[in-house]
Amino acid sequence: MGWFINAITSNRFQTIAQNTDTCVKIETGLKAVGRPSFTLIDKHTDKETRKYSATKEFLYQLLCFGIYVAVIPPIFKNGGFKLFQKVFTKENLPNFRNAKEMLAYYHLAHLDKEERMLEQNKKYWNAISDDVIDKTIRTKTGKFKDGIPVKKYLQTWSKDKITDKGKMFKLAKGSIELSSIVGSVIGLTILAPELSHLILHPIMKAIGMEKGHKKPAEESTEKNKLDKQV
């Protein structure tokens, strides 16, 4: 039990748990494995139908995953973040260039001061530009008269101080999550079913899954035709 608690309370797991994008990717990946597996062991239907349904389900979830990776981060995550930056101009958020920059700051800000400086976190430091400035705090004269670079907070302040001073930039982080949720909903409930109509049948035919198998809909239509003829 101890290893389980250690794993779910680790920084990496906590960052994933707070990130819509990663959560949905994991969920879709698990669906791609879980659903076909359970379809294959379902004893209510015959073997051919199970194989057909499981392959179709697997391909559908794979398609969902592809759509998610291709569409959500560039369009919704970054697009939404930029849109919200314009909407919240009055709130004086720092000038993060994209969602990735903001998320790198957020990740480092949640670590202890010493942990931030570790080699493994260098990629997060590199992701944040030096000229990302917080203009809400500035000195009247001197070095920071135009605002303080957010990297300064990460270099000098502890996690608690950053939280207390309100420099986690919850609004910016929340806008990324909201646009990711909206993007996930649009991608997985509108784009995926429509694209699956176009892509899945040719793939199923190409791998020889649609030759011997008739979908329930086809069977029913054929039965209706026969009934009409009779």
């Binding site: 101890g2 608690i5 794993a7 779910i8 309370t9 797991f13 906590q14 994933i16 748990a17 707070q18 990130n19 819509t20 959560c23 949905v24 994991i26 969920e27 698990l30 669906k31 494995v33 879980g34 659903r35 597996s37 359970f38 379809t39 062991i41 379902d42 209510h44 919200f84 909407v87 919240f88 709130e91 986690m168 930039f169 919850k170 609004l171 910016a172 982080k173 929340g174 806008s175 999550e177 909201l178 990711s180 949720i181 996930s184 909903v185 997985l188 409930t189 509108i190 079913p193 429509e194 329930p216 809909a217 029913s220 239509t221 209706n224």
Partner: protein
């Protein structure tokens, strides 16, 4: 406008403060439960009954998903305080971790298992009820037709008189010859 701005700001701040893995998967389940049956019903290639069946099945799957996510999340999250007391770790962190773990477990195992166990019996039940209703509607329609026929035929003659017409001797000999020819052509022999 100001109200909408404040509302969106509040939502963003809350999501920034605490974003649960559950929010996204619940939103997806709700919208899938609405959109997938809608798309199925809009499909012009399938017949009406098949569309209804498929749409109901899809709606039911997402309803199962929605309930499963909520229930497992509630069960797992309720364990956070006791686990925090046992291990001495932050309750908030444990709750966060358990939340993601419950979503993964539900998506990968619980939903497909519950669907396997419940979909078939529920769909069979629905089909049975629908067949019964159709049968009843069919009987009513048949009765309606018979009523119309019965009411429309008004005669004082008896059934035998109507269906046994009196034929002239010429007509009887003509009918006999036709009958004989037909039997010969078919290759059948009466009493043979």
């Amino acid at each position: 406008m100001g109200l909408a701005y404040n509302k969106i700001k509040k939502i963003c701040e809350n999501l920034g403060e605490h974003n649960d893995a559950l929010y996204a998967v619940l939103a997806i389940a709700v919208f899938k439960g609405i959109m997938r049956p809608t798309f199925t019903m809009m499909d012009k290639e399938s017949d009406k009954e098949t569309k209804k069946y498929a749409a109901f099945r899809e709606g039911l799957t997402e309803a199962i998903a929605f309930c499963s996510y909520l229930i497992t999340h509630k069960i797992f999250k309720s364990q956070a305080p006791s686990l925090a007391a046992k291990t001495g770790k932050s309750e908030k962190k444990i709750a966060n971790g358990l939340s993601l773990f419950s979503v993964c477990l539900t998506a990968g195992i619980i939903i497909p298992a519950v669907c396997n166990l419940t979909l078939k019996p529920v769909m069979d039940l629905v089909k049975k009820v629908s067949d019964k209703r159709k049968q009843k509607l069919g009987n009513d329609a048949m009765q309606g037709k018979l009523d119309i026929k019965e009411n429309s035929v008004k005669t004082n003659e008896s059934f035998a008189a109507v269906y046994s017409p009196k034929l002239s001797p010429n007509s009887i000999s003509l009918m006999d010859s036709l009958y004989k020819n037909r039997m010969q052509n078919s290759g059948m022999k009466v009493g043979g």
